[in-house]
Structure formats: structure tokens, C-alpha cells
Symmetry: C3
Subunit: 139 residues, 3 copies
């Protein structure tokens, strides 16, 4: 068995989901691994990872709205306000979603369902460059 790691950067422009399925698939293909496990880890606490439906942009918008409702930008709710009204809600949204995802690799591809895509879930308003660490092992 062999293993490989890489870094991937995803540029974001405000709250919402940014797909990186293709970038991850390309790197996986270049690794030559046919059966194994791919792990994605995001090195941030105000952005996270999610697997969602990649067919309908309304799903993405509704998902973003939902998180705005349960973790509103209202400074009266929080002690931690010095980094802006979107910072503490961002930490909450990150805690409610995933920092890490592992996907089995079969026949050289991620074993995603038909409608599944991999997304960075950005929780801050200002543009960011988000760093992911990818690890794959197998044979």
C-alpha cells in the first residue's frame, strides 16, 4: 500500500458553498490509487466541508439561508464580537458541519453517490483562500 498527500486551495467570495469535486478527483486520478480511502481536512474554524447535491443551485442557497437563521449575525447573542458580526456565527456554522471527510476509493474514483458533490462551506463575508489537506492511501 502507498499513500500520498497534497494541499488544495479554494477561493471563496462570501458565505456559501464552493464545489471542489473535480479538483479532488483529478488529484486522486494522478495518484494512481485504485482502491483505498481519500481524506479531506480543512485547516480553518470559520469554513467547513459538506457533501451536498450538486444539481440544484436553490438547494445551496436554501442551505446557506438556514444557517443564517439558526446562527444569526446579532452581536447581542455573542461575547466574541471583535472580529466582526460574521465571525462568531462562522464558528458555530463550522461546528455544525464537518472539518473532515473521508471517501472510499473504488476503481480509481471516489465512491460518491450520483448527486453528491464535495463543497467548501464558507461562513465569512470577505473573500478568503481556504486551505485543504488531502491524504489518500491504498493500492
Amino acid at each position: 500500500m502507498t499513500q500520498k498527500t497534497t494541499n488544495l486551495q479554494v477561493s471563496t467570495r462570501g458565505k456559501g458553498l464552493y464545489e471542489f469535486t473535480q479538483e479532488a478527483a483529478r488529484w486522486l486520478a494522478s495518484s494512481g490509487i485504485s482502491i483505498g480511502l481519500l481524506t479531506i481536512f480543512i485547516q480553518h474554524t470559520s469554513a467547513s466541508l459538506t457533501v451536498q447535491e450538486n444539481a440544484d443551485s436553490d438547494v445551496i442557497a436554501d442551505l446557506n439561508d438556514f444557517f443564517g437563521r439558526i446562527a444569526p449575525e446579532d452581536n447581542r447573542l455573542y461575547r466574541h464580537t471583535v472580529e466582526g458580526p460574521d465571525d462568531m456565527p462562522a464558528h458555530i456554522r463550522a461546528a455544525l458541519t464537518a472539518t473532515q471527510l473521508s471517501v472510499p476509493v473504488i476503481s480509481g474514483e471516489m465512491a460518491l453517490g450520483t448527486w453528491q458533490g464535495l463543497y467548501v462551506f464558507e461562513h465569512r463575508d470577505a473573500p478568503q483562500r481556504r486551505r485543504l489537506v488531502l491524504h489518500v492511501f491504498g493500492e
Copy 2:
């Protein structure tokens, strides 16, 4: 070290939790792996995975109710309504729980706590057959 993968299907009959601990344990036992890591991945965006207490059915019902309260079936809240009133809440519930779980394997068994069971968390009303991909490696 060796690795193995398989598929597991879990039939669901409406929103709620469906345990598959035994099915996963049986496959793990058949793999002959004594120490390693078992990963479970669900190939859907309207059902998810959770580890919960397998002792008390009230816990399961209360958990389901909670998710009904924070992501209600109310079309006025969502743009994405064409797949039925339970579809967008299903995506939200899936984002709040897990698409993937990894469990260390020790002495040929999953290292679960005394009260922990593995569940598919179904978020839709109609009967479904949910597909899981299992991957284990170790020795």
C-alpha cells in the same frame, strides 16, 4: 496490511433512525482484520449517518422531533420545493449530521462505547433503499 470494501443497503420507511451496527460488525468479522480502521460512507444527500444510544427508543424519537423543529417542512422557508415539502429539510438535516464515519477496529471489533450504535438517519418520508459503502484496512 490489507483492505476490503463492500456495499450495504438499508431499507427505510420514513424519517428516523435505522440501526445497522450488526450488519457492519458481521462484515468486519468476515474480513479477518484484527486491528485497523473501518469507514462507512452514505451515498445520499437526504439521508445521513449518526452514532447514537441504542438503548432507548425515546431518544431516537426525540432526536427525530428535534430536527423537525429546527428544519420544519414549511415551503415558505425554501426556494427548492419541487421535490416535495420534505426534500429541502432533508438536505439541511443531512448537512447537520454525518455523511461518513470512521471507527477504529481493535481485537477484530469496532471500538464502540457500551451504548453506541450505528444508524442511518433517514430524512425523507417515502420508503427508500439507502446505499452505504464500507471500507476497512488493517491487519
Copy 3:
């Protein structure tokens, strides 16, 4: 490739976050593994894992408050009340966060972001000793 497992106990004194980044890092260093994947699994359904900012204690307090607001201790909301008013909210809080985390290992260290720390998220009021299972493999 080699693999190792261990157990780690984290003592908690009421709801909130308890960091164990250093304990995990020490064990990882002792394993001698330079590149690989570290997995942490918590053997409980009323405590969970989260990766959060380790710089500001206000973030930790606000995060705890948020979970108190969305899963309040109000027995009228729950069937499962025999284990105390904090038990069912604890199960909900655990379902919303992580039971397991995997972190890539690079140059003998967890590939955490600058501000990321690993925490046990305690959801019960009484003091507890929480058991984690750690698994690492690599070379």
C-alpha cells in the same frame, strides 16, 4: 506501513469544550509516524468532538451558549427525561457535532491550521471521564 492505537481519557467538569490537542500530539510523536492519518473516536453519545479556535475563550463560551439555545433543557420538549434534564439535549448536541475526526499527519505532526485545536465537547453537567480511541497509521 505501520499502525498503532491507544486510549486517552479526558476529564470534564460540566458542559463546554476541553482541549486535548497536546495529548494527541504527544502520542503521535511517540508513534514515530511521519506521514499518515490520525483518527480520534469518542466512545460516548452525550459528549462529542470538535475542532475549534484555541485562541479565544469567548468563542468557546459562545459556542456552548448557542447549543443551549437550540437544544434547551426543557422537559416538555422530550419523551426521554428519566436521566435528567440535560440528557436528551446532550444526545442532540452530540448528533449535531462529531463522533470522529481524522487528521492527516505530515512531517510527524497533525496538519492542523494555525488556530485549530482538538476538543472534547461535553454536553452533560456532572463531572465525567470521557474515553477516546486513537488510531494512527502511516510510515
